[in-house]
Amino acid sequence: MVIVQGILIALAVVLGAFIWQTALSGVNRKIVARLQKRRGPRWYQEFLDIFKAMSKTSVSHGWIFDFGVIMAVGGIVGTAMLMPITNSIVAFRGYDNFFIYVYLLAIGMLGMAMSASGSGNPLASIGVMRALTQMLAYEVPFMLVVFTIIFNTQASGLSLNGHVLSGSVLQDITLFQQAGHWNALALPLGLIVGYISLLGMLGKKPFETFIAPAEIASGPMVEYGGKQLGMLMFMHEITVFIEVSLFINLFLGGAQNLFEYLLKYFIVYTSTNLVTNVYARFKIDQVVKFFYRWPFALAIIQAALVIYLGWVI
């Protein structure tokens, strides 16, 4: 019974996440347009785009092209199902281990990469290559910061564990922050790294090399149209939801109620869109160099401060 309830909550989370994030993308398009002195599309434009793409007939480049799309959407939906929203809206309490997000997200990415390469278009393969290379850049500093967070919290779950090894304190990452300080405040260097990595994850400029619309014809997505494109757009919205929610849960203390969560989400996501509009694009090797020069160093310093010196606010 518990498991059925969990699955129902999880499905509701995915559906809600899709509606909220897609609407927010539309709103953000409007905000960006106003910055550029345009009127911008209507707020529900993204919905129209997705449903229109889904309703069209399309072309397929063989079974792996379709299989990859299914695997991508499946992996991402599965990851989103595990995401805790607030203290009370949690589908599977205690099993939302941080590493599951990193790796379960990867299966979605792998599916998409496979499908894109399976299309036989070299531009798509170049896009995939860049996406993977960028992943190597942003993921390591980000994981190091989370390493510090987990060490500091003594828990790797986002919601409360049902069972913890003897000797350790019964807690989780979000409740730990709500009881004390947010990690954004406790680990200021970590926040910087986390935010830069978030830009990398979301593919926002200066780290949007793998999409690079003017250069490699929209990157991995070049061959898609119709329902495949629609499903990948759906997948993209859910991916953004996972990444932003992860940031909120890890750095901004999660949320006690839905309103707080939505407010934090709005602020974080909109801020990334504002940042992206004042930057130009990095080349892919510049991305790697940048991440291993600054965020990586900051992440190491932050980890050393916490673990060796015990300096936490």
Partner: protein, 612 residues
């Protein structure tokens, strides 16, 4: 059934196989399947006894040995199914079959040995048998390098064993290792010597250079055995040295790296081991990304995965050891599977160079799926076995606050997405090249072992708790807390994992995606050449296939890296120079040297007794 009898029977089958192969090649190769499959069934079903009848040999049925022996039997027996197809390709099929089974028998002997001299004996035996298999492939140089590095390992092992014998007057593993933990001075020497043996066999930095050479040029059917099986002997030695010698107790008074209020720190000896593991991960990952030969790529990934095993072992706690043991299993099955998939490609398309291949998925979809499962496990993505072990290793790294090791581990795990994707994208996917139109799917006998290996990878990824039937006795034998996971709960230091739940959620996700996909309008199928080319007209698939220098922008960043290989080459040159100098001094036919020695001789005689 005693272990002794088992080894003897495998040896007899080996000889039988040699003779049979001379008459009928396929029949001889089938004997290798029989010879390696029966021990596996025995380990799983029958209770073996350790009583011995032959004077010299001493075997004991310890849990650690059993764990390794089962993995070794799985790898050997599954790979053996490929042997019949390679009989025509090999220069000496009879010797190959004979050596295949003898090397298998000697690994089993090694794991069950209860005396050190016997460990050395079998260790050497494995090296010698595999040494002669490797040159049956592409290169002879590879086996020279393999032997040199292995010799470093085996001789330092021998030296350590003799040191232990001099001190305690016995070769018994249990006794000597228990005693040595009270003698930290001699213990350190033995620890270092064992370390050399372990790193050499595991192919960890700085002794990793033999792996890509040997794996890359060995016969396609032996590469999976090398990578999935034989390198794991290094892990066995590493476990003996860290847990058998109880290194944390032995080095309790030595300097602990980063000992703070919160952390106990790690003895610097173990820390060095961990550092070497971390460097192996980084080096292996970076080198694997840059490879063009699929087999070399997988070989470098074995270097990186060996690093993970060292990280798990070196921390010296129960979760770390469990992670390492699980990783040994997960990597053995995954890497054997990946190597076998590449072997299929090599069998059908006659090459393993990624840049020469393309679109193999349209010829061999099942092999592709097998490779996909293997790389998902190697990259540590759920719901495959590789995820469980990486999760456990991360748990222990975080608990011990090992920042740099964790950075290397994270780098390696994200980097693995890059290198495992390379053969996927360029070899299996991409444009279908016309020159491989005739290529067919692998025969059923080759698919069968791949099904078994992928089944194991998936099963233990979803239900990891079953592995602790074998791991918990090992933890117990080293007086560590047993993990005792339940079906739905695997406890770490700072969280727990519910592997079936994750798998279930993933299945639900895929189901949703599938329903979405079939309920939407059907799509029209077009050819691979019917793609967006930005207005250019291209009619040759080769021109639309992106396979060469896949990660060029990334590779550029470390193209001028310092190489350990260059250092070894310089070392070789120095030794050669020294040899030439000695030759010049004593063995040259030059007149001046003869006169020189005569003068020296006469001077010494004239000096007489005063010289002393």
């Amino acid at each position: 059934m005693t272990i002794e009898l088992l080894l003897l029977s495998i040896f007899i089958v080996a000889i039988l196989s040699y003779v049979t192969t001379k008459v009928n090649k396929t029949a001889g190769a089938i004997l290798t399947i029989v010879g390696s499959l029966i021990p596996l069934l025995l380990f799983l079903v029958v209770d073996l006894k350790s009583t011995t009848t032959i004077e010299f040999f001493q075997f004991s049925l310890n849990p650690l040995g059993l764990f390794f022996a089962i993995i070794m039997s799985i790898v050997y027996s599954m790979v053996a199914f490929f042997n019949p197809y390679w009989m025509k390709k090999l220069l000496h099929p009879a010797s190959y079959n004979f050596l295949y089974l003898t090397s298998f028998a000697s690994t089993l002997g090694l794991f069950f040995s209860s005396s050190f001299i016997q460990v050395f004996f079998f260790f050497e035996f494995v090296v010698w048998t595999s040494l002669f298999i490797i040159p049956l492939g592409k290169s002879r140089v590879a086996s020279i390098v393999y032997y040199t590095i292995s010799a470093m390992g085996t001789f330092s092992l021998l030296f350590a064993i003799l040191l232990l014998y001099r001190e305690y007057n016995t070769f018994d593993i249990q006794t000597t290792l228990t005693n040595i933990s009270y003698n930290s001075n001699l213990g350190l020497v033995v620890y270092c010597l064992f370390g050399v043996a372990a790193l050499a066999k595991l192919g960890a930095f700085p002794l990793h250079i033999w792996l890509p050479m040997a794996h890359g040029s060995a016969p396609d059917t032996f590469s999976p055995v090398l990578s999935g099986g034989l390198v794991k002997m290094g892990a066995f030695v590493a476990i003996l040295m860290v847990f058998g010698m109880n290194s944390t107790f032995m080095f309790r008074d030595s300097f602990h790296v980063i000992h703070t209020k919160i952390l106990d720190g790690i003895p610097y000896q173990n820390y060095i081991l961990l550092a070497l593991g971390a460097i192996s991960i980084v080096v292996g990952t970076l080198m694997a990304i840059a490879q063009d030969d699929a087999k070399k790529l997988l070989a470098y990934s074995s270097v990186a995965n060996g690093g993970y095993i060292i990280l798990g072992i070196g921390v010296a706690d129960n979760i770390g050891l469990s992670g390492a043991l699980f990783h040994i299993f997960a990597h053995a099955t995954a890497t054997a599977l990946a190597f076998l998939a590449i072997a299929v490609v090599s069998y059908r398309a006659k090459t393993t160079k990624i840049s020469e291949l393309g679109g193999m998925i349209h010829n061999m979809p099942i092999t592709y799926m097998m490779y996909l499962i293997a790389i998902i496990s190697m990259a540590g993505i759920p719901p495959m076995a590789g995820f469980i072990s990486k999760w456990l290793i991360f748990q222990t790294l975080i608990h011990n606050g090992l920042i740099f090791m964790a950075a290397a581990a994270f780098f390696g795990s994200i980097g693995s997405f890059l290198y495992v994707f390379r053969p996927l994208a360029a070899l299996f996917l991409g444009q279908k090249l016309p020159k491989y139109d005739h290529v067919k799917e692998a025969p059923l006998m080759m698919l069968l072992p791949m099904f078994v290996l992928s089944g194991l990878t998936v099963f233990y990824g979803i239900f990891p708790s079953f592995a602790w039937n074998y791991i918990d006795p090992i933890l117990k034998s080293y007086h560590l807390t047993e993990m005792a996971p339940t079906l739905f709960q695997l406890h770490g230091y700072n969280g727990n994992l519910n592997a079936p739940l994750i798998a279930g959620i993933f299945v639900i996700g895929v189901l949703i995606a599938f329903i979405m996909f079939i309920s939407l309008p059907k799509s029209r199928k077009v050819s691979l050449m019917d793609t967006y080319t930005a207005g250019e007209f291209i009619y040759t698939p080769d021109l639309l296939h992106y396979a060469k220098d896949f990660y060029a922008p990334l590779e550029r960043l470390y193209a001028n890296h310092p190489s350990i290989l260059k250092f070894y080459e310089q070392l070789v040159n120095k030794i050669k120079e020294f040899g030439q100098f000695v030759k010049y001094l004593f063995f040259s036919k030059k007149v001046e040297m003869t006169v020189f020695w005569i003068v020296i001789f006469i001077t010494l005689i004239l000096w007489g007794g005063n010289i002393w």
